[in-house]
Chain length 263, copies 2
Amino acid sequence: MAPEDNITVVEKTERSQKETPTSNVVFIIAMEDEALPVVNQFQLTEDTDSPFPKGVPWIRYHGIYKDPQINIMWPGKDMVLGSNNVGTVPAALVTYASIQVLKPDLIINLGTAGGLKVKGACIGDVFVISDVAFHHRRNPLPIRDQYGIGARKTFPTPNLLKQLDLKIGKLSTGDSFDMSPEDEAFVMANDATVIDMEGAAVAHVADLLSVPAIFLKAVTNIVDDSKQSVEEFLQNVPAVTAALSQVATRAVDFIKGKCLSEL
Amino acid sequence: MAPEDNITVVEKTERSQKETPTSNVVFIIAMEDEALPVVNQFQLTEDTDSPFPKGVPWIRYHGIYKDPQINIMWPGKDMVLGSNNVGTVPAALVTYASIQVLKPDLIINLGTAGGLKVKGACIGDVFVISDVAFHHRRNPLPIRDQYGIGARKTFPTPNLLKQLDLKIGKLSTGDSFDMSPEDEAFVMANDATVIDMEGAAVAHVADLLSVPAIFLKAVTNIVDDSKQSVEEFLQNVPAVTAALSQVATRAVDFIKGKCLSEL
């Protein structure tokens, strides 16, 4: 394989079109508890006049941090139930609308995740994601089985990886908090170390619209042991999201002033 | 309960704002095999200059049928694998973008579905859907469990129902073609007669943006018997999609010239 074959289409496009420093970063963050520490870290302000359609509950926080424009998009809460709008559909919609309206150079999907002990994940680990796939979209038809899994590599950032010095792992995305036996078989086939409820949907939309996307996922609960994941999750959210906000700052500190091809 | 309490917010809004005849209908159809009979029926033309962002594989067919503007939005094919972009994420994205760009009065989500024999569904039945919910979004956290299910009533069209004289049933949506034991428990709890891979996602987006949506689903395969659903599905798609296109015509023949409150 020629070295050029290792370069993704997105990377090639970006290299030729965007040799200016990254100036506009959109974070996609599914839960308020995950978003607020990052909002505070970057001292961002909530939009008073939303640039998004009337009726959508999506919340945008924005501001300038040192140099780049930072936006945090949180899909907000279900207007009837008050629950955070977690999962693939709200994440995909917010990613699509953010790219259309805010025109970011780079998307960062940041959030909590379940970790697989068998793959070496521990509570509090923050992972940079190398690959994403779905584990809840089963289809027995040929070709449509692979479409359902939707495996793809994330935007390569070798220098950022070196700077952050975090674990690297594969992510599998599904619309349920738990992991059914059917889900588990796909998580294993996806060779995933962490699971979440948004990542592969964000990646799908970012790829469609040729915007590079990176993924920072921190482990709040272990999904392949006998403990109750929900209690573990609730207990660990505060410390893990605080740690994630520190990683977000370190990432943006490195990104500022650099072109995408330098990441 | 006062009679007024039975009227949905959407219906109230539409009654006060739109007492003009329905002039712009968008069909959301997930598969090419489902879309083409309807395209032919209405003699629509494929867009040569897409109004949607560069990069998205979505296909729009459009034209005037008797009176109203008819658009068919098909999420197209995965650009690498060639599979139809089935499932909740593409359906939600296409619904969102269609509402933004095409500004329909009414959305019709039309497609094939699995039927539950235990609830009286037979191959070839076409259902008008009264309620939608998800069956693949499990969450053990309080409130978030109900958010995951996302149950909602569809836009009420009592006169159209009388005209079409079809079966009425509840729809449950999941991202897999099959029905795992976990899915089945939710399908049953949702009291569903038919299952599909898009409906509840289309309903979610249409509700967010206050556009009335109706759902026509035809049974290609029975999901609660011992037969192989995939073979049954493939065998029945041609006849069932032909029948669906006839129902689409009858629906638009009734809708044309009428206000939403007359449907």
